[in-house]
Symmetry: C2
Amino acid sequence: MLEYWSGSAADPRVDPSADPPPGGPLADPPAASHADPHPDPHPDPRVDLHVEVDTVDGRRVGLERALRAAIRDGRLVPGAPLPSTRGLAGRLGFARGTVTAAYDQLVAEGYLTARPGAVTRVADVPRPAPTTPASASPAAATVPRFDLRPGLPDGSAFPAAAWLRSTRRVLSGAPAAIHGVGDPQGRIELRTALADHLGRTRGVLTTPDRIVITSGFYQSVGLLAAVLGDAGVHAVGMEDPGHDVYRDVVRRAGRTVVPLPVDTDGARFERLADRGVGAVVVTPAHQYPTGVPLLPRRRHELCGWARETGGLIVEDDYDGEFRYDRQPVGALQGMAPEHVAYCGSVSKTLGPGLRLAWLALPRRLVEPVVTAKLRADFHTHTLGQLVLADLIVRHDYDRHVRAARLSYRRRREHLVGRFAAERALGAYGFQGVPAGLHVLVTLPADGPTEPDLLATCAERGIALRGTRELWHGTPRRQGLLVGFAAPAEHAWPATLDALAAVLREG
Amino acid sequence: MLEYWSGSAADPRVDPSADPPPGGPLADPPAASHADPHPDPHPDPRVDLHVEVDTVDGRRVGLERALRAAIRDGRLVPGAPLPSTRGLAGRLGFARGTVTAAYDQLVAEGYLTARPGAVTRVADVPRPAPTTPASASPAAATVPRFDLRPGLPDGSAFPAAAWLRSTRRVLSGAPAAIHGVGDPQGRIELRTALADHLGRTRGVLTTPDRIVITSGFYQSVGLLAAVLGDAGVHAVGMEDPGHDVYRDVVRRAGRTVVPLPVDTDGARFERLADRGVGAVVVTPAHQYPTGVPLLPRRRHELCGWARETGGLIVEDDYDGEFRYDRQPVGALQGMAPEHVAYCGSVSKTLGPGLRLAWLALPRRLVEPVVTAKLRADFHTHTLGQLVLADLIVRHDYDRHVRAARLSYRRRREHLVGRFAAERALGAYGFQGVPAGLHVLVTLPADGPTEPDLLATCAERGIALRGTRELWHGTPRRQGLLVGFAAPAEHAWPATLDALAAVLREG
């Protein structure tokens, strides 16, 4: 129901000729047609004013809103006198007390000023700048037509039914305290489930009290970088090429990044000794982006360095669940649990949107990392932690990972087979072992360049990454990172066709 | 199914007299009874060794796990030779290829070393330090017997059915992309729902593109403090007394805190001008902890300061939904949208465990805050955002807040009535307007001290807060912050009795 008050601000009179504004009961007040873009500070008190009162939430509330809107959009300017409560009540057919209460409310909020015995006036409230149309935020999520972004799982395969079942179980079975302030280290249910799960599937040797739950690997790296800084570590070794985003996290935390070149055996560590490096971030299962595993000799070399120097190894096990030609190589952490901070997440299994990740830490790091987590955001959302714990202990999580592994394995074979079968694609190569959610496609020396290919892909709505930004300095090789997991199963053939067409045409 | 391999590491022989270890098929390997706490680096190769192979996940996997466990717990020490693959296969009744594959796996992981033609040996893997029993983390959530913690809503009233319904709707209706990388500013669905909801319920004047979703007010303050630092703001005005936790956030971000004394009209701002303060954090609806609202004159004074100096007002609307004697006073933000960063969250309505909060920002702050959010943790968990948006647009959120307001209002009346009715409690006073989730109980001059009362409460399992830590320097008054919202409805009478007993006894 709408009621209208029309007349001058100083002497309101009902104007029976005024048309009701367009729109239904919940339409916005017709501000634009009445607002004066350059309000005179001393307006003619008899200027016609039109205030719409939506009484759906009650008359007083509606009148307050209407007056606030009129003040904000300039129909009622600072200093303007308001009609008497008696006069306005009469015009609107409201009880006088309703109008008085609305004025009192707006005085309390600061929109109006009142002195005993004097007329109520609009306070000195500045008009906000006109709002411009909503613009997309810098990194707004958009869905590409052909999604080959590396590192993203197939969101259409999200185990929604299992997630919902577990949510119901958690909400019906958990105590009310789960809605209170949580443990900055993470829920004990999830830490217990993970200690078992990580031991079983990744050979991680840990206990629930050495696990910390975080809101993503991104946050994990940030917490570790902060703690390392407090511990006096200035330089961090990071793979070259490696993930540029995490390099930026380490740099922003004030640490210096020392590049560790990657060859076919994984990262090389000979530069650690003479550089005063206190920590190393590695991807031992499937180096990002080259796809090579860290070979045993290098694993021993790195663990030896950590033991001799007290340095910390940060193991980014970002896609360790996905190996297609053999059993996954166990985590490096199992060999040196007191020297390795193991980092995992659900981002490659369930999806990054959940913001759920974990650290299995050397004992000495637990307390400082928990403190850093507490200072960052108190704790990770409780309900999500409990649902994930339920998924793990009921093996729904395992089942989902196994199904995803089969699907991605087929897609990778499909992709590699296509390149092998099609002569025009023969000049492109694949690097790395059959694992993970992406392949690194190497480019022929006399073929198209990485920027050319990326530009053509962008034109055609194909989302993927190049490798140029992954090098610490000058890119030493060009390539494409092709994520084969992101598309829905039904979209995969067309997505592969689209990529093949770009590469074929060069 | 369990299979046992028993014998010396160098020359394995089945020992038929060996007892199977205790425990079912999934029992831990009997490490403790076999591990030598001080392993000899050159052990007698004929030392009896007992390896348990759990074949539930396959023979090879089981053997790998058994060997890893034996290496880790010291039954197989560095340098120890392993039995030949043929010999071990014969003892276990496995195919030789199974044992070879297991050895290969452990070589790849670094547990074993192999050279062509030579015996396979245990690599130089250090034993992890013995794990001590899990200890509670520093701030682990514990449920007090009588929960009077200020600022906590009643978790037993969490709208679980509505949350579950909305979760189902979101999971069944949303595109697969919701599981991908999200928008650091927050989901547009939630920002749109909040722009409307905050305008309607709190008089906030904003648009979806000026809202940023965060993981709690704690994170909101941290992001703002970082952005203010980048903008060259060195000093931040904060209420005295005020929330110590948020003061610490601002200080850790490197800002100086300038105390703003609080009187019966709210915070006082005369010290802003001469201190070079660039931002002010206030609780205008219900000052924390004193409970007084910021009166209109002070609101105008503060907005005037912001407009003149370009300073930022951070409005912590922590419990603005809860006013019991009148319609809530609208947010300060509505008066000066380009000078106020409005902060809200679900922590006082649904609970802090969800880690969902929002900022309604002046336009100039949107981009820097979104960048800071991106750098902190990429974005807030997507599913939670979408469920909350659904709750809001379907008015389940409003319904829940209304029901909570009724319940808390009754409790507050009950509490105040009890103090008024009981002569022995007459010396205690209440400060602040009827609002929020706590009352500030003032202490009689000749009565028990705050520390005495807190000690007695702690002894009896009553959780509440004192006010001493809320003062910036020397506490100028003593008091108790009694949260009346946290207990379940059925527990409230006994909780109030418990508090009254402590105060009565003094």
